[in-house]
Subunit: 396 residues, 2 copies
Amino acid sequence: MEYSSINKINCQLGTERSVIREIFEYGNMRASQVGRENVFDFSLGNPAVRTPKCIDDSIVRLVSDSNFNVHGYTSAQGAFEVRRSIAKSISDRFSVNAAADDIYVTCGAAASLTITLNALCNSGDRVIAFAPYFPEYKVFSNGAGAEFESVEADTEKFQINFDGFEKALTPNTKAVIVNSPNNPSGAVLTEKTIIRMCEMLREYSKRFKHPIYIISDEPYRELVYDGIDVAYIPKYYDDTIVCYSYSKSLSLAGERIGYIFVSPKVNNAKEVYAAICGAGRKLGFVCAPALMQYAISENPGCVCDISQYKLNRDLLYGALTEYGYSCVHPDGAFYLFVKSPVADAVRFCELAKKYDLLLVPSDSFGCKGYMRVSYCVDTDMIRRALPLFKKLIDNL
Amino acid sequence: MEYSSINKINCQLGTERSVIREIFEYGNMRASQVGRENVFDFSLGNPAVRTPKCIDDSIVRLVSDSNFNVHGYTSAQGAFEVRRSIAKSISDRFSVNAAADDIYVTCGAAASLTITLNALCNSGDRVIAFAPYFPEYKVFSNGAGAEFESVEADTEKFQINFDGFEKALTPNTKAVIVNSPNNPSGAVLTEKTIIRMCEMLREYSKRFKHPIYIISDEPYRELVYDGIDVAYIPKYYDDTIVCYSYSKSLSLAGERIGYIFVSPKVNNAKEVYAAICGAGRKLGFVCAPALMQYAISENPGCVCDISQYKLNRDLLYGALTEYGYSCVHPDGAFYLFVKSPVADAVRFCELAKKYDLLLVPSDSFGCKGYMRVSYCVDTDMIRRALPLFKKLIDNL
């Protein structure tokens, strides 16, 4: 029998070699050869800091409450009391007006993004992101029928390359994805950068006679160090949709819990919210995991202990720059974005493997010549890895 | 500023009046007027039986284990040990060969369906379901780029109308969704029906020179009464993909946990599985909720106590048929599909509202002239509602 064509695009998406996954599997293979303690895996983004006790306490209390059907369906946009709690927390922290009906609770950041992109985009629309960017932005944009375009990186400070940005704006531009603090660079956009970006977008929205939306992807919002402030974009730009996740702030990456906040200042906000409800329905989300909805809403403003990440960052940044590596000082997230000492970062990461240092070359982030070094790892592993980082650069 | 077109289809999907939701809101309004105990809501599908204690015990134990990162990312297709546990349970119960790599763990039945449909379908493909059917099948099929076609109901026994089925099969038919036990009819397909359906599909697959897949949507598999056997379709038809959810069997509807089983006998099973991985990625699922993955895998074969559903079914079926209502005896799920005593079921459901009986007219299930009466409710509410069901039909 001849083979019927299944969906080739999805087949390819499921088959293509993921750089990070291959590193992960290589790490497991090496661990079986030389012992787990001798493999130094800096490729992961799985939070290393424990989930705050208050969350696990809430989970235990919720499942023990025989008067409450904690595992039942909630409404599609999230339980009302959960949305009210999230809206209050946003209003309190950022001095914006957020109501329960502006919030749509999601199965994490990826769901926030695919739902928002499907709600906004029609075939032929364009979505812009600034390099270096999370590679799935392209997959999610294409999945929503849009074309994806990246703006070349500002490699000096990992802010925004405004010349490139202005060139990328076309009448088909539907949305710009902003990710601050940034994966993979760790950079936080300054208020000055954001004001300039918003001015440019207002100008071009007017010129093109339709809003260009900002999709603010903020899973790392709370992971900033030294008291750095992360500007809240809805305060600077009306047509902003915030995509949030508790994956990093509460170390709940596997639980898939986050939300979309449609700023009430968005043009036709109620229609945008309705399109979000419709996109969530079409994609098959039904509702966000119920137990996690209640657990996070019982603990507004709770954040995991990020002092370990700060310790790791300072340790790794201090040592690597001392050894001669070049790296912009990261204010947030849990990644160092280190310039490859040789032009080809893929080749350098291969060299690093000889020391059992596992790093991610930056090519898939749309910005060649760097390595992403994740520091959401045990501090002890960093300490043991430092002499190897030194040998690696000294022996080039 | 002129309004930029957001995605109109999704906007409409999020705006359109949901019959069940309107009934729910009407019920809340009436409850505030006459008291919750005087409103008899038979419109819901939220499991009324408590989640088995073993699941909640697992949850408590898992979050209390400080040596295990229970909330971290799992691999996209599900944690390996979870997939192994599910595969073993399938192999043991149904005498088929299922391996961990044939299982893709999902965020519940809707996700299982949207991922499978996106994996299989290309634009212009057709997906068939038998009326009465779960209305979201159409939304999910269209969302995957396919056309949806329903086969008129066999209203005698709610098996399959084979004449209508044969007419619906075209060279563009990519898949048939089978839902046994059925929402809304409660019918279970007999082995005889399944054998005949599979023979017809084999014949037409051969004629059209490509496989026609069966998507077996089985969230109600374990909710059957009187020892009825629910045939496992992968044993009868090679090109079968099972979409399962623990929503009903473990009363975890809000937690979004289920799986896809790609039978290893499926034509090019590895490519189909890859397309499923790709579709899950594109739609933004990342992984199924981690804590729930581990909790269900620790308790293979566990099912909630369905004796309350059986009690409810017997009570309601016995009384309604005694009062003069007509209804096929349902072998499974938790719905009675009652013939409307007047031709227009929507009108009859309006009449029922005068007695504060909330029923769902069957129009949205693709089969007019019936009401869905959900019995996943308190038995006591049924007892108190019975005299009203009698008055309703007596006073016509």
